[in-house]
């Protein structure tokens, strides 16, 4: 007897949108088993994971702080993914954004002006775009695979960060430790809610979500992105420029990642450090798919992913559960999501 996957005629639209919810429920069910087998009270564990982080104003603010870069990057990436443009290098674009914006803050150290921060944002976006422009150029000019080029540029970006932070940008009063000086107040992202770290990055991310939604749903460019992704031949018959879509989506992804990067260094971190991002550029890929490549979905997916990090920390502090639980959790979530997606489009047949 053999198993065979057979394509279904049409995927149910309700199921396509509902599959993240199914995945979350299945993850919860599987994690109950996991907690029980670890010998911990599963109800208490789930409470530590999902309720405790949100039980205070500070916790909710922290959730948004953590979700901001994930949502921003995933928004940019989801535009590209819809057009089958696979930008895997958001981590590098984030780093370049942080370096361009942060470098400006260091160059104008002590310069007090309300225009400094907006300038840094522009520099950050430009930095991310410049880094994404390299794979865009290589793909449109030489038909290079952007998965490879964008990923490779991540390592180049991290080495560039490492060089700057061990050399020219090192804090002159920092005993030669690899950190820049702390940014001065004009170069810091303002905090929205006193006593928390919630900064203006979150409302900016929401505004960009709305803009992306309008672009994708109501603007011709969104239509072109979808057609190029779904039916490249039809797109070229319709006269849609594939080159233009590649450039647009890569620059959008790079710009969003660059903005996320500069908001991290000018926001919660407050200086340039050797590790700016704990892999946001890669986690955002999961967020984009978890959010169904839909702007609103991405916001919820970003919040959920952020919650697993915060919950994982609470589970360690209050239950002494290992950090690996967070990874297992995220892995299960992705696994169940992909499994649901497959089963929505294919049915399983036993063939004798």
């Amino acid at each position: 007897m053999a198993l065979r996957f057979e394509a279904r005629g049409a995927a149910s639209r309700a199921m396509v949108l509902g599959s993240p919810a199914i995945a979350v429920v299945l993850t919860l069910a599987a994690s109950l088993v996991m907690f029980a087998s670890l010998g911990t009270d599963p109800v208490r564990a789930l409470q530590a994971f999902f309720i405790q982080p949100l039980s205070s104003e500070r916790g909710v603010a922290e959730l948004m702080v953590k979700a901001t870069p994930l949502v921003l990057i995933a928004l940019g990436l989801s535009m590209g993914f819809r057009a089958n443009v696979w930008n895997i290098g958001a981590e590098g674009q984030l780093t370049l954004g942080a370096l361009a914006g942060g470098g400006l803050a260091l160059a104008l150290y002590g310069y007090e002006s309300p225009f400094l921060l907006p300038l840094m944002f522009v520099a950050g976006i430009a930095g991310g775009m410049a880094w994404a422009a390299i794979p865009a150029f290589l793909k449109t000019r030489f038909n290079t695979n952007e998965i490879l080029t964008s990923l490779m540029l991540v390592y180049v970006a991290i080495l560039l960060l490492s060089y700057l932070i061990h050399g020219p940008w090192r804090d002159p009063d920092g005993f030669n430790f690899p950190e820049s000086r702390l940014f001065h107040d004009s170069a810091r992202v303002p905090v929205l809610l006193q006593g928390t770290r919630l900064h203006i990055g979150w409302p900016i991310a929401l505004a960009i979500t709305a803009t992306t939604w309008i672009l994708l749903a109501r603007h011709i460019i969104g239509f072109q992105i979808r057609v190029v992704g779904l039916a490249p031949a039809a797109a070229s018959f319709a006269g849609f420029s594939r080159t233009r879509i590649i450039w647009t989506t890569l620059l959008a992804g790079g710009g969003a990642a660059g903005l996320a990067g500069v908001m991290e260094v000018a926001g919660p971190i407050g200086q340039i450090v050797p590790v700016i991002s704990p892999g946001y550029g890669f986690t955002a890929i999961i967020v984009a798919f978890l959010g169904r490549l839909q702007p609103v979905g991405v916001v919820f997916a970003g919040l959920l992913m952020a919650l697993t990090y915060l919950g994982g920390e609470y589970a360690q502090i209050t239950m002494n559960l290992p950090n690996a639980v967070t990874g297992v959790f995220q892995g299960m979530l992705l696994f169940f999501l992909l499994a649901s997606d497959i089963l929505i489009r294919y049915r399983v047949r036993f063939v004798p």
Binding site: S56, R58, E62, V65, K66, L159, S162, H166, G167, F175, N176, F177, P178, E179, L182, G195, R197, E264, G267, P268, I269, G270, Q271, V273, P274, V275, I276, S277, P278, Y309, L310, E313, Y314, Q316, I317, T318, N320, P322, N323, A324
Partner: protein, 357 residues
């Protein structure tokens, strides 16, 4: 190591613990780790310290930890979560937590913080580190004595003072017993990457090195040394098990010595901010057993150096010491002061390499 810890715990118990009135609420002690605990290396040694605290103080303390905390925006949140969940004493165990610790400490003035390897203190933030260069002095003596090719390989992580100081301490010690010795240094730009560290060890051995030293966290170099029949020195933990023939000795970080003292002072109310930099003398560094294949006179010399350093009669940076350009760093008969050691960013004379900038 365990006997040292137990002895210390016993002393602490005798000194005042038993006399102290029983506390209703246990002291909650939190630890922030940069890596996973695993079974060897930097974070593992900090966790051994945490376990020693639990064992010594029993019901009087309650410990928790968060592992794998990135040194960026996440550090503030984790440290604040520990403060928020009622921890009275919080150890942040990596350099990158310095500014986050200072920031969170401002928000929680009643919580006591301890930051490892940094240089910023506050009323409720103490700092601590170990004089790792003392261990490297002993490693350098051994390496200089056992090498036959007179080439010693060194796997370095990042060109920060801590690492440069370690290279210089090892080199000066190796040269003091073997004037023909030379160093080959590979920078791997990581604290932990078994693949890169192993490749670096292979490259060094191919260039003639017959002793491998490292300032990285994995046992990969030791395993390569074992395969290729050369010597190596274990780092941070006792690494004997990863290559018992190649293993000269391990310089082991013993944070338990410090954690027991600080938890005791938090319990009896005498905790105050401070800046601790302890080595062999404070038991914050200890040596594993020496390899039995090392000649007895060499072991004797190494042990003599270790106890002289512990007593304070020997300093690994005793003048005259010059840098590569011939400038005098430490005058004849003098020893390097801590300020100079902390900011050390040049190689000493005789190292045939350029420090990456």
């Amino acid at each position: 190591m365990n006997t040292v810890n137990r002895a210390m715990a016993a002393c602490l118990l005798a000194a005042g613990l038993l006399a102290a009135p029983a506390q209703a609420e246990p002291l909650k002690v939190g630890f922030v780790y940069v890596g996973p605990i695993g079974d060897h290396g930097w974070t593992y040694q900090h966790d051994q310290g945490r376990l020693a605290v639990e064992e010594a103080f029993g019901d009087q303390v309650e410990t928790s930890y968060v592992e794998n905390v990135p040194e960026g925006a996440d550090a503030d949140r984790v440290i604040a979560q520990l403060a928020e969940t009622g921890h009275d004493l919080i150890f942040t165990t990596s350099f990158g937590y310095m500014n986050p610790t200072i920031r969170v400490a401002e928000l929680y003035p009643d919580v006591r913080f301890e930051h490892a390897t940094g240089y910023k203190q506050a009323d409720n933030v103490a700092t601590y580190s170990a004089r790792f260069y003392e261990g490297r002095h002993v490693a350098g003596l051994l390496a200089g004595s056992v090498t036959e090719s007179n080439v010693i390989g060194y796997i370095a992580s990042f060109p920060i003072p801590e690492v440069v100081r370690g290279i210089n301490a090892t080199f000066l010690a190796a040269r003091s017993v073997n004037p023909d010795v030379s160093f080959k240094i590979v920078w791997v730009s990581t604290w932990f990457d078994p693949g890169k560290e192993g490749d670096a060890a292979k490259a060094l051995i191919d260039q003639g090195a017959d002793v491998i030293l490292q300032h990285t966290d994995s046992p990969a170099a030791l395993q390569v040394a074992q395969d290729r029949g050369v010597w190596a020195v274990g780092q941070a933990s006792n690494m004997t098990a990863f290559g018992s023939d190649a293993h000269l000795v391990s310089v082991v970080n013993n944070w338990a010595a410090y954690y027991l003292r600080r938890v005791q002072s938090a319990l009896d109310g005498s905790w105050g901010t401070s800046d601790t930099w302890g080595g062999f003398g404070a038991d914050m560094l200890v040596l594993s057993a020496y390899n039995e294949a090392i000649p007895a006179d060499v072991v004797e010399m190494a042990e003599a150096a270790r106890s002289a350093i512990a007593e304070g009669s020997l300093h690994p940076f005793t003048g005259p010491i010059h840098d590569q350009e011939g400038n005098l760093l430490v005058a004849v008969g003098e020893v390097a002061d801590d300020g100079m050691l902390l900011g050390m960013s040049v190689y000493v004379e005789g190292i045939d390499a350029t420090l990456p900038q």
